[in-house]
């Protein structure tokens, strides 16, 4: 396939069909340009999603003051949640094995907690938590 282009954003937002995901992932495995663009788009997406969700000014809608309703995030939010987990793992890995990545990208990552996740289906549920008994042994 030619370069992925706007499929990258649709992928991050969970808007691709399974067949398109498979095709894109196969392409990403062989195309450094698109893999890099995916990572940068994930940083940008996470930066926007990291903007604080502002409360309504008090008294603007009296009907709304009694109840705080969280903003809904679409299914792409799971990608963000997965990215947060990945970012944490990467942060720990970076402490153990320092590297010299892109400064601008790293700065944004540290500021917004953003990091690309190559698989939108990846979620916190896939994080393996060791059994307490294993740790104590």
């Amino acid at each position: 396939m030619s370069h992925a282009g706007e499929q990258i954003s649709a992928y991050l937002d969970g808007e691709l069909a399974r067949a398109e995901i498979d095709q894109l992932q196969a392409h990403l495995a062989t195309c450094g340009k698109c893999a890099g663009e995916l990572q940068e788009m994930q940083v940008v997406r996470s930066a926007v999603r990291s903007l604080p969700l502002l409360e309504l000014p008090p008294g603007l809608i009296p009907e709304a003051d009694a109840e705080v309703v969280p903003l809904r995030r679409n299914k792409g939010f799971l990608v963000g949640a997965a990215a947060a987990v990945v970012a944490l793992v990467i942060a720990i890995a970076a402490i153990v094995t320092p590297s010299t990545p892109s400064v601008a990208l790293e700065e944004l990552n540290s500021r917004y907690g953003a990091r690309a996740s190559l698989d939108p289906a990846f979620g916190p549920a896939k994080v393996v938590v060791p059994d307490l008994g294993d740790i104590l042994e």
Binding site: M41, L53, E63, A64, G76
Partner: protein
């Protein structure tokens, strides 16, 4: 099956904050955002009587978008000061942790500034996707364009943001 708010009060309670954040991220101004919330809820109040069950999100965001664009056109017709592009601090003044809150918001200043520099169609698509949390299909209904156009606008918007932020 989509749950449809039946009363204006429920719409205000469930969607008021979403509408406020949509408007704030499009304008960067809290007063303008507050004005838009009130205008949208007024239109919802009038429109609910004739609302036909279907995509409530699409209906609501179409109203919100049209109200926003009407307000932009109205302002463009009269000679006033342009919209300020800095974070307005008034909403923080009454908070006991105002400094902490301002610090939290100022982290996003560069992102907000980059958003405001986007062409309107791209900014709108990115905000509806990443701030409001609508699907591409819902955005397409709200903006009345094909889903492919939504996909293109979101990606092009993010590419422009990348040039500003990275």
């Amino acid at each position: 099956m989509e749950s449809v708010p039946l009363t204006w009060e429920e719409v205000a309670r469930v969607y008021g904050r979403k509408i406020y954040n949509f408007a704030y991220r499009l304008t960067g101004n809290s007063d303008d955002a507050a004005d838009l919330v009130q205008e949208v809820l007024l239109r919802v109040r009038k429109g609910l009587a004739s609302y036909q069950p279907g995509s409530f999100e699409g209906w609501l965001w179409r109203i919100t978008r049209n109200a926003f664009l009407d307000e932009v056109r109205r302002r463009n017709r009269r000679p006033t000061a342009p919209l300020p592009d800095e974070v307005d601090r008034w909403e923080l003044a009454s908070s006991p942790s105002a400094d902490a809150e301002y610090s939290r918001i100022s982290i996003g200043d560069d992102v907000q500034k980059a958003l405001l520099e986007l062409p309107y169609e791209f900014r709108e698509a990115v905000v509806l996707c990443d701030i409001v949390g609508l699907s591409y299909e819902e955005i397409a209904r709200a903006v009345a364009v094909p889903v492919g156009t939504v996909r293109s606008r979101i990606h092009r918007g993010r590419k422009l943001l990348r040039e500003s932020l990275i």
